[in-house]
Amino acid sequence: MAEQSELQYTAEHEWVLVEGDVATVGITAYAADKLGDVVYVDLPKTDATLAEGSIVGEIESTKSVGELFAPVNGTVVEANEAVVADPSIVNSDPFGDGWLIKVRFTELPALLSFAEYSALVAE
């Protein structure tokens, strides 16, 4: 897993790890804490085409439902089946084993830096 300082972020509390033309996407620890214990995760299927900003999945806790937004245009190359089978991984390791999807993209939109995201959640 990457250091949090190496990740990019969205205002919807998702993190993005860019490796070549593949973006790994998860939700931040801040988001996981806000949700509480995650009990259900619904992710897009492999090969699904994602449009940046659209709702492509759900992260549900006992008390809330979070929506997963596609941070980039692209195609799903992998969804994390381990998280679907055991959603608690989202809480225990949001920046690592709790990743949600890997997306092959053609162009990366403007994302938030670690400093910018840290400032956002500090508000």
């Binding site: 006992t62 439902v65 929506e67």
Partner: protein, 392 residues
């Protein structure tokens, strides 16, 4: 990710509500790693890390909840029993000393202002013996107190809002009694009922530190448990003493998130969700709480006798398969016809499947119900409430 918050938010009267009130235990919760939520203007712990772990602890061992935001209203005076018979839906005059009773405060039109617990003859710190203590929801404090005071006009009683001087700590779960009995400094008063003799919905008195603690064998989780009413000045030391005693009994601090899933499994209504001003008790399955057989008039009697309008929706328990829960405000369908709406719902931590309470048309075909879960229809079954009942 954006979040749809389904954690129950109470209704409240905006002009009178206080904001950013802190429990006397707030610093302890911060030190314990709690995350907080606004509840009726109070910053209260929502969880201390894992709401699921807190839920399971209450079912299998014990949990301790700070519910200091709850409102406590003292009723004293020669007419106290007659007044409460008039002001509330239940026959409070039949409640024996040290007994507790679940009751409702109705409007003249038969709607529900609040659901409450009335304790008879509770010894409360700072005030000595009281005749009745009425415990109301935090979000309804400023509706309940004026309603009671207004209804008291023709009675020789005094209605006093003690909410700011009393803290409430709940210890819930099968190990609760062992924890209270092991708590340093908590001593049952001479002549008061020992905990092993105390029955459900009865109360007793104890001393702690320099003051007295009023203890009800009551709760909102579906487990055995106790609620401890204590002077705000002693709340922190009592909490710490209970935590210390609970170390050997699996006691964990628990927040409002687990409190909500626990009460939902137990089929207990939450004001603002299952209950409201436009809800008749009979619709909510609380017809038995309205004592139509008691003598004399009481507020809401005529409306309760007339009952809700024909075809009024009634509260039902629903279960679904899978793991996607129906949530408050999700619609219930029979075929393509909307026949109801969910008032509370969650994936039940104890049962492992989704549960919900919903108001359903009484003539709906219960064999064909579906819930619209964010665009997906999921088949639902009607089941009797509660969803979970502890083994006796």
């Amino acid at each position: 990710m954006t979040e749809g918050e389904f954690y129950p938010q109470p209704s409240r009267s905006q002009e009178n509500s206080l904001t950013d009130r802190f429990s006397p235990l707030h610093d302890i919760h911060v030190a314990g790693g709690a995350s907080f939520t606004d509840f009726a203007g109070w910053q209260m712990p929502v969880s201390y890390g894992s709401d699921l772990a807190e839920h399971h602890a209450v079912r299998t061992a014990a949990g301790i909840f700070d519910i200091s935001h709850m409102a406590e209203i003292q009723v004293t005076g020669p007419d106290a029993a007659a007044f409460l018979d008039f002001a509330l839906a239940g026959k409070i005059s039949a409640v024996k000393p040290m007994q507790a009773k679940y009751s409702l405060l109705l409007t003249a039109e038969g709607g529900i202002i609040d659901d409450l617990v009335v304790y008879a003859n509770g010894a409360v710190s700072s005030t000595g013996t009281v005749e009745y203590l009425v415990v109301a929801n935090a979000g309804n404090r400023f509706a309940v107190v004026p309603a009671l005071q207004e209804r008291a006009a023709s009675f020789d009683v005094e209605v006093t809002d003690l909410s700011d001087t009393i803290s409430l700590i709940a210890v819930q779960g099968p190990n609760s009694r062992a924890i209270l009995e092991a708590t340093d400094g908590l001593v049952i008063l001479d002549g008061q009922t020992q905990l092993d003799e105390l029955k459900y919905y009865w109360s007793t008195g104890a001393t702690f530190a320099e003051g007295t603690v009023f203890i009800g064998r009551t709760g909102y989780t579906g487990e055995d448990g106790f609620e401890l009413y204590v002077d705000v000045a002693d709340a922190a030391s009592l909490w710490q003493a209970l935590i210390a005693a609970g170390a050997d009994h699996g006691l964990v601090p628990a927040g409002l998130a687990s409190r909500d899933t626990l009460r939902l499994e137990a089929g207990m209504p939450l004001y603002g969700h299952e209950l409201g001003l436009d809800t008749f008790p009979a619709q909510a399955g609380l017809g038995r709480v309205v004592a139509l057989t008691k003598e004399g008039d009481f507020v809401g009697r005529a409306a309760a006798e007339a009952g809700p309008a024909a075809g009024a929706r009634v509260l039902k328990g629903l279960t679904t398969e899978g793991r996607r829960a129906g949530r408050a405000d999700y619609l219930v369908f029979s075929g393509d016809t909307e026949v109801g709406v969910i008032t509370s719902g969650a994936l039940s931590p104890t049962l492992g499947y989704p549960i919900a309470m919903a108001y359903i048309d009484p003539d709906a075909d219960e064999s064909t119900l579906t819930i619209d879960v964010r665009g997906t229809r999921i088949a639902a079954s009607v089941v009797p409430l509660p969803f979970y009942k502890r083994e006796a």
